[in-house]
Symmetry: C2
Subunit: 578 residues, 2 copies
């Protein structure tokens, strides 16, 4: 390491004066990040400036922090640190640039700034805060968490890929490893082929899941043969190596309320765009999750664009664009824990079952939980929590105000909160060209989805929920889908109809369960290249009326002869043409 | 998962009675773990019983917990959880069976019990506690963190290994991965050949370091060919795949005082036997770190037997056996942080540089630090800490009561505490057949090492310390080595003499630096198969007198003609025969 010049006294005095000046301005509600030493377009690390600004804001109850338009770079070195559990993402001791804990009434306005992050760092984590607005900036990374290789050729031994300079790699002991200039590594967990002309997942391409890296051989600098006999790909297409873990979502919110995200461009992150846990009243307007301009990349972010777990209040998403991300545009659900063992007649140990749900503590004294067999997924008892004793991120002891019912099945039954569900409005959005679904709707609050364009590789709308695999609580009660354009969805493998009402209700219980209720689909337009419009079971109140269906030849029809409406085990049905 | 039977009311009532009975006995100072539901030799998980017992002990100020002799099994599921930084080990969110935080005056007596751990779990973590005694039990694991394969053959393509059932594995996508019955994985970071007849590292064997697993092919169940062209091994010997990380040391102590460890057998752990940080007055008596009986394994534990960082008070190790572990028997040192940048004339940012030192927070207001150039390693200023602001596990801002000196070199200079050093006594111990050194002595307190037997693959005694690689503060001031038998040490590659006084003093500064001082070596016996007795530089006060040197033919002499005493850049020397 080079020796650095000694601290300049002039700078010290200038900074002291600057801080005194700031202290004198307490009443002035607006701060400029430059006052804390950040210099736009300098490519210097602005993280320490953010830490100082946030400390000052907290102390002086400042309500606005602005960034003059320009580029700001953020590195892990001077970032805050906290162990973070984020449902549907990967836990870890994270470096965090904007860690807002217990903040109230704060607007951060980027005035069109570009925030460029470097390495394993979380841009925004907002906890136990209220009335927070983030607006007018973009989020991107210097080196992405995923990597992309252009397919040059394919044969029985595997495929040959060309990697651009933005995706540095090495062959380590015969295995392909992605790196960066700082020698950080970027493990990958799956591969998926993209069509770089259409800027979407290749027609009917499937994920390849691999552990422990891919055996590979470098042919020449930037040209690599993957030594994977089973792997296929079309020359000219792009193979995306997706990040193994979701460690660095762009914006993570928990236990907060009254949040507004406005005019944000999220070009990349190593996880989700916006994920909110146990929070209320979240508004998203003019959010673009899309490919980083000028990079030639086919992928935007490595997981869902937005995700909401055990949220309440009003949830609004409007005038937004969600494209090219590696998972769904929006996913809204609760969490089930499994009853692991009965400790006393009124006390159980519960277990968070999915690895990405560990540490999701939602059970509180006074809270109401539904008790559900994982077979029919319908509540058979309601319990009020008396006390909670968290053992570790996986197990919690819960005592109730009454005895558990006689039919309790430990190792099978699940519990979920019934205290709160969001009222959801999603309108005027474009959802396209991403891997998997458009929206997973699992709120029991009123849901309105209108005036959106869907062009998704999987189902445009999926209703899910199960107590055996993902342990996501869903089961809608009042959903309206109207005036949407469903344009040639399901060109990939992640759905069996444009609108799919599935769940983990086990086959022999589907005739008795009515897990989802009151879904109204009307005045939409469906452009379809295969017949599969609607698939569903265990629904009470399903209406599909007044929609316009147009045949398309945008993709090959691999499902000729399939039923437009594959609907069983439902009641109160009204489906035009069924 | 199978449905489990409902809770038995009789058991509930019995437990309630049992707890009431306990509450009534508050005055009785001794508890039996069976009172909390543990059943010896049942192979049931006793972890929940330990959690209940510890909660009861804390509440009722109990001073003794006993285990009736027998086997007790411990699993991660019901263990406590905490993010732990342990210097010279790997940080992580750990599951902990005995988490003693803020305990005082407690004896845990195993009465000869066998504690058998399963998976990634830490047996004992003791923090901010005092007057704690652990005695009379053994620690072992159901499945070790390392794996061992018998070498069947070796050729230019690699080696063929046979794995016993106790080391389950799979070939995952062409790569060898070690597993267990619960499908946990056991990553390895290095390979080392052992001689199973002598029960020690093979003569002059070196570590092979590999990342990302070894390409391999299964020949038949249990027989695997490693496809590593560079790897060598002698048929009949055993290749040890050492754990990639040190995640589960047996006993970890921090910020505690008056600790006693007596009559413990540590047969295995995934890290160190006993590691103590920032603690005072630690006594170890009758500790055996050795191979698990009846398993046929060649390795005991995967890292150092004992390790002490920034400790003080009296440190005693006596009547103990340290053998077959993967690193040194004892290592005693402080930690240097690097001065990263100057923030004001009296304030710096310091950086913990070694990955396994991250989170080692030792700088406190009022503490005294020495300031050292990393070239000569001698203090050129002493500073008193005014305030500390931890940024993250890597960086901390430190303000001093005076300005930093003009000669400060950021990115090069290091700081370490000079408040406390342990007075060390190590006697009547056997240190043998492990990888690497016997003891690394880096305390500036009085050190006495007497009446021990050393048969180590590297140097028996190593004096170290540097500010460039390991960042370990050392530099002894008063060391006596007497009446020890050094029996055929240095049959491996981890030393250049039986007693080695090295350091990170850079070559051109060795003539001016006197980093180590006052080392007296007398009345010892050296059985040597090669001539190299003593190697050292930058020492003031080095005496090697009245020792008995005996030639041996126990191993081939690969260093014929080497000097017995390779000593330069020293003063106040007295070496018989030099």
């Amino acid at each position: 390491m080079k020796s650095k010049p000694l601290f300049c006294c002039c700078t010290a005095i200038a900074l002291c004066l600057s801080f005194n000046h700031l202290a004198a301005q307490k009443s002035k509600a607006e701060l400029n990040i430059e006052q804390f030493g950040a210099r736009k377009d300098s490519h210097e690390d602005a993280t320490a400036a953010v830490q100082k600004a946030l400390a000052f804001i907290r102390k002086n109850k400042i309500s606005k922090l602005v960034f003059p338009k320009g580029r700001y770079d953020f590195y892990p070195e001077r970032a805050a640190e906290k162990y973070i559990f984020t449902s549907n993402n990967d836990e870890g001791l994270k470096r965090i640039v904007f860690l807002l804990e217990g903040f109230s009434n704060l607007l951060i306005d980027g005035h069109g700034a570009s925030f460029v992050f470097h390495g394993y760092v979380s841009p925004f984590i907002i906890e136990h805060s209220d009335h927070i607005t983030l607006k007018n900036f973009s989020v991107d990374w210097d080196r992405t968490f995923h990597s992309e290789g252009k397919i040059l050729s394919a044969d029985n031994e595997g495929i040959v890929l060309s990697f651009a300079e933005q995706f540095p790699y090495k062959i380590d002991n015969g295995v392909l490893v992605f790196t960066d200039k700082q020698h950080r590594e970027y493990p990958y967990g799956s591969l998926l082929e993209f069509d770089p002309i259409k800027h979407e997942t290749a027609f009917m391409a499937s994920d390849y899941y691999f552990g422990h890296g891919q055996p590979a051989r470098e042919i020449s600098p930037g040209i690599v043969r993957l030594l994977s006999p089973g792997i296929k790909g079309n020359p000219g297409n792009v193979m995306v190596f997706n990040a193994l873990k979701r460690l660095c979502s762009a914006i993570t919110v928990s236990d907060s309320r009254n949040l507004s995200f406005d005019s944000l461009n999220i070009y990349h992150c190593g996880g989700m765009g916006i994920v909110a846990l146990r929070s209320r009243d979240v508004s998203i307007r003019h959010l673009a999750v899309t490919r980083s301009p000028g990079t030639g990349r086919v992928l935007s972010i490595t997981a869902d664009a937005t995700h909401f777990v055990n949220c309440g209040g009003k949830l609004l998403i409007e005038n937004s664009l969600f494209e090219n991300q590696m998972d769904d545009a929006a996913n809204i659900h609760g969490i089930y824990v499994q009853v692991n063992s009965l400790l006393t007649p009124s006390k159980v140990t519960v277990q968070l079952k999915h690895e990405q749900q560990l540490g999701f503590d939602f059970i509180k004294p006074g809270g109401k939980l539904e008790l559900v067999h994982n077979t029919d997924m319908e509540a058979y008892d309601t319990l009020t929590v008396k006390s909670v004793n968290r053992i570790n991120k996986e197990f919690t002891e819960v005592e109730f105000t009454k005895a558990l019912p006689a039919g309790l099945l430990t190792g099978k039954d699940v519990l979920a909160s019934i205290d709160d569900y969001p009222e959801v409005t999603i309108r005027h959005c474009i959802i396209q060209k991403n891997r998997a679904r458009g929206m997973l709707i699992g709120s029991r609050g009123k849901v309105l989805i209108e005036d959106n364009l869907f062009h998704t590789s999987g189902a445009a709308i999926l209703f899910e929920g199960d107590g055996s695999y993902w342990f996501e609580q869903a089961g809608v009660r009042d959903v309206t889908l109207r005036n949407n354009l469903f344009d040639n969805c399901n060109y990939g493998v992640w759905g069996n109809a444009v609108i799919q009402i599935g769940s983990g209700v086990q086959k022999e219980f589907r005739n008795v369960s009515r897990y989802n209720r009151n879904i109204n689909i009307y005045n939409n337009t469906f452009n379809v290249f295969d017949p599969r419009l609607l698939n569903g079971y265990s629904v009470k109140g399903l209406r599909f009326t007044g929609n316009t269906i147009k045949a398309s030849d945008a993709y090959p029809n691999k499902f000729a002869g399939a039923k437009p409406f594959d609907v069983t085990d439902c009641s109160d049905l009204k489906i035009d043409g069924f």
